[in-house]
């Protein structure tokens, strides 16, 4: 049961690095350090490394499942669990991806509303953004990867760290290991949300030219994400006291308040609006994946489903009014994502092994 796309639609294996990295490194990084630092204090960076390692294991598991079946999760579901149960699981993933897309869109709009234009209507910006998303997704998978590649420009903003370097307090990092292991693991659990995004491999596996060769690039992508998150965490630890972080909502945007140029007095404007580079690749991929699942479930064209899904996302975005509900959605998504990564993928992995064993004995 081998299924790969036409070579015209596939991507080179090394592009999996770009894809994994930009799917993981979303706008969640703005708030990611707050909760772990409340739990594990100066040892939060250990949690970041632990979480990164656990995601390496998950990536390895995913490749084992995918390489053995040589198809994507949509078909694996139907092979493993039959047409109806598999379809139900696919449907759950559609809902999950659409919620992620709505959350990312709403988060970006919220940042714009708080930092730049308080009087901006949610629907107006959502409409513009989703039209852009339609344009990108209609271009196909390779265009989405191109957008991911383009969004790597965001790493230039790391230069703004130098402006805050004068206020770094290296005392804040010691004493190392002053917190119990349970605290550190709990902080690591809080960190799974920013790491989410590797599950997209399960859906674009058939679009990789030589999928077996791409595993090392996927691991490299996760490694670079871990590195970026380490920088984010170290930066939060060095610049702020945990007591300050408990009051800040977006400490990573607050850092732009330290940047001063003769020609730009308020660099936050650049910083806040550049968050689109973090959000757009994820929104595009989520809509692409969910419309592709629709295509196989109901045998319709992807392009006919896409506008309907976009309207759904648009309505969901408009229905989230402000900070409180965004936080509710965030905690919900981080819970669901946690179980997808650390419960569902290992579960599929075990089912796969059992199936292989059973088949061999027969």
């Amino acid at each position: 049961m081998k299924s790969t796309e036409h070579p015209r639609f596939t991507i080179s294996p090394y592009l999996v690095f770009v894809l994994i990295h930009s799917m993981q490194f979303g706008p969640e990084y703005l708030t990611m350090a707050n909760k772990p630092i409340q739990l594990a204090g100066q040892d939060a960076w250990i949690s970041v490394i632990l979480c990164g390692i656990s995601f390496h294991i998950v990536i390895w598991m995913m490749y084992r499942i995918l390489n053995r079946n040589e198809t994507d999760l949509i078909h694996i579901h139907q092979q493993f669990f039959g047409k109806w149960a598999g379809g139900g699981l696919n449907f759950i993933f559609i809902v999950y991806f659409l919620t992620v897309a709505s959350f990312q869109t709403r988060l970006f709009i919220e940042i714009i509303q708080v930092w730049l234009f308080p009087d901006l209507e949610t629907w107006a910006l959502a409409l513009v953004l989703l039209l852009l998303v339609y344009y990108i997704v209609a271009g196909g998978f390779r265009v989405i990867v191109g957008i991911c590649m383009f969004s790597l420009v965001r790493h230039l903003l790391i230069l703004s760290l130098f402006f805050t370097a004068g206020s770094f307090h290296f005392n804040n990092l010691s004493p190392i290991m002053d917190h119990s292991l349970i605290d550190i693991i709990q902080a690591g659990k809080e960190l799974t949300f920013p790491y989410l995004g590797v599950e997209m491999l399960l859906f674009c596996y058939t679009f990789i030219k030589t999928p077996r060769k791409s595993q090392k690039w996927a691991h490299l992508g996760n490694f670079v994400t871990t590195l970026s998150y380490l920088i984010v965490t170290f930066f939060s630890l060095l610049l702020f006291k945990p007591e300050q972080l408990s009051k800040e909502i977006w400490p990573q945007l607050t850092k732009y308040k330290f940047v001063q140029f003769p020609f730009i007095e308020r660099f936050e404007f650049v910083g806040a609006s550049s968050q689109i580079l973090w959000a757009i690749p994820i929104i595009c991929f989520c809509l692409w994946a969910s419309s592709r699942m629709f295509k196989f479930m109901f045998t319709v064209k992807q392009l006919t489903v896409l506008p309907i899904l976009l309207i759904l996302v648009f309505t969901a975005v408009c229905l989230i009014p402000g900070r409180n509900l965004i936080e509710v959605v965030e905690t919900m998504l981080s819970k669901i994502g946690f179980y997808i990564i650390f419960a569902y993928i290992p579960f599929v992995y075990i089912v796969d092994i059992v199936r292989m064993k059973v088949r061999r004995t027969i």
Partner: protein, 357 residues
Amino acid sequence: MNRLFFSLLVAFFLLTGCVKQQILERVTLFIVCAYDDAPNDQIEFTLAAPKFQAGKPGSVSDILLSKVGHTSMNILELMSMRLNRPINSGRVSVILFGKDLAAKGLTKELEAGLRDAQSSRRKYLAIVDGKAKEMLQANFSSDEEKGMFLLNLLDTNVRTGLVPRQNFHEFEYSYLGKGMDPFLPLLKLQNDQVQISGLALFKDDKYVMSLNEKQMRLMKLLLENVKHGTLEVKLDDAYVAMEIVGSKVHYLVRKDTESPKVTINLIVNGQIIDSMGVHFPEQEKQRIKDRFESDLTATGMDLIQLFKNEGIDPLGLGDFVRSKTRNWNEEEWKKQYRTLNVSLNVKVNLTEMGIRK
């Protein structure tokens, strides 16, 4: 389909003009504002709005607006009824506080600035000896805008003078952080001239006492590595001045007994720039050096004793001990602090002495 897309694109392009615009020439940007204490738990908020005169570029005067109320943002709203252009707080760089208000605590007043998405974290805060409003009323800068004058005054003295570095972010940092207390520069109005007269020390967010210039200079040496500034010492009947070309401060903590022992090592490299009455300073080098060392040590130990008696910790010794101790406890530390064993070792190196022997 393409045509539809194109027309939508044009429509969106035109829609960008629909958000609230703030054109620089049409808003009042103020650089300095002041908070003072007012009866009934109110504050008096003063701001100096710059006024540009048409036809005379370079000459700026200030309009002073002052009002009593509960929250500064509401006062700003009411003030805009007296101005021809809407007020925007995005350019505030200096905030002054009256001494009376500082003695009551500053947290409430800082809240608005920390919450505002437009306010910078690098702005300077300063305490005024007296009423902050009166300082802004005085005519201390002839052709410069008052806010710009105060900003440059604080900025140059922090960069190259003897005022320890402290800004909005650092103030909040040391106020919220455990085992440390904030401090701010203290401004004074003398004969219509503003001068930095010393350092205002805080317990939590409440002003408690002030230091003079000499103590402030040593505070700076103990807080950060300094590359500017002058030190002076009396040598029997003559005076010698030394320019600091680089100082290094290093904290050590030892815990062989029950309570921690903090050692501060301060190394000052300097060159003699003025030797009034000392004819051949080269021969007297050792004596000058010793005198500098004993003088700095004495001032420093007095300073630390003063902090211990007041129960304040502007040097952040508590935070330093925390970073070297497992399971550090703030309550326990506060008990220990008054009897803490602190020693200060100063080493002065005289490298050059100008172009004369």
